[in-house]
């Protein structure tokens, strides 16, 4: 029996949350997997909390806004505390279709990697996002190759599967804002195996991306710096 915790960090996702949870509930996974869903409410200003209360989920209700990294880490801490075997991070806006979870788990079973990333870019299908964003992702691909020596295409993807080792590490240290690329450097330095698997992503149903145009330059600079410091920091 494998216990999976699905971590959904939420900031103002009242519109898309109910559908996502019901889709997840209808998901058919191999029998040995026992799925629990954990919604992390990152101090939303809408009714995300009330909506999540009514659903059949574990609700981690943060008293202050910690940003995506802090929210995901809260979920990882819960997973560690309650001895889950796997944790999956998934966006609350419906960008990551629950059905794609099967591909992630299949990739995990096949490779035994500690971290599986759901990637938009290995096979070109589904939502590919804008030109500038793709440019940024190409840059991070190059940067990741430089810092980790691994070829990871979708380093900004927030669709990820953590095994026990990764949960443990992530619960101890996880970057606060824009955590995805930096955490790859961190996990890779700690010697974890990272694998990528193609998934289809869709346009967001509601809510806002944490990366908007006027902050994208700051995003690049901050993440580059964070990756650099993660690289030279002793694990």
């Amino acid at each position: 029996m494998m216990n999976i915790l699905i971590i959904i960090p939420c900031f103002n996702e009242q519109a898309s949350l109910p559908r996502l949870i019901s889709d997840l509930g209808n998901l058919e996974l191999p029998e040995k997997y026992n799925v629990s869903i954990c919604v992390v409410n990152d101090c939303s200003t809408d009714d995300t909390k009330q909506v999540a209360r009514k659903l059949d989920v574990i609700l981690i209700d943060l008293p202050v806004n910690l940003g995506i990294g802090g929210a995901v880490q809260s979920g990882l801490k819960y997973a560690l505390l309650n001895n889950y075997d796997l944790a999956v991070q998934m966006d609350g806006d419906g960008q990551h279709p629950p059905a794609e979870l099967q591909k992630m788990i299949a990739c995990y079973e096949e490779t035994g990697a500690s971290l599986v990333i759901g990637s938009r870019f290995i096979i070109k299908e589904g939502f590919q996002s804008s030109f500038l964003r793709r440019l940024g992702i190409t840059y991070f691909h190059w940067l990741n190759k430089f810092f980790t020596g691994k070829s990871i295409y979708d380093s900004t993807s927030g669709f990820r599967l953590f095994d026990k080792k990764a949960i443990q590490l992530g619960a101890r240290y996880y970057p606060d804002d824009y955590p995805e690329p930096e955490s790859l450097v961190f996990f890779s330095k700690a010697g974890l195996a990272i694998k990528e698997t193609p998934v289809v992503m869709v346009h967001r149903n509601g809510g806002q991306s944490s990366i908007r145009s006027f902050t994208s330059f700051y995003y690049c600079v901050k993440v580059t710096l964070a990756m650099f410091f993660s690289f030279i920091r002793k694990p």
Binding site: I60, D61, V64, L66, Q73, Y78
Partner: protein
């Protein structure tokens, strides 16, 4: 006594008094007050001892004593700002940890409540 001396003495003593008052009222922690007390003290000293500044300037090979004052005070202000950034980073880290612990504890409390109810 020069007019400028009187002004600096009044200003720095007033500043010293302000820092004292804030520490007494608990609005400024003692460890952060040390640096302010120290430098106000130096300011007061040099306000009284007018030859002192000239002496120290000569010692450092600075032509104009005013330049020495500016250089040193800007440098100290920068170091102190860095220190404050470190303090802010530490506080953020602790804040995050507390928020997470609290959120996880809320779940435990809910569980306990339900257990009690079902018993």
């Amino acid at each position: 006594m020069l007019r400028i001396q009187i002004i600096t003495i009044i200003a720095s003593v007033a500043f010293l008094f302000l820092v004292f008052r804030m520490v007494v009222k608990g609005r400024l922690r003692e460890e952060y007050s040390i640096i302010w007390l120290l430098f106000t003290g130096i300011l007061v000293t040099f306000s009284f001892w007018e030859k002192g500044l000239l002496l120290v300037s000569n010692l450092f090979g600075v032509y104009l004593p005013a330049n020495l004052v500016f250089t040193i005070s800007i440098f100290i202000a920068l170091v102190y700002l860095l220190h404050l950034s470190v303090v802010a980073s530490k506080l953020q880290k602790q804040n995050k940890l507390l928020a997470q612990e609290m959120a996880l504890m809320k779940i435990e409390i809910e569980k306990m409540k339900e257990n009690i109810k079902s018993e």
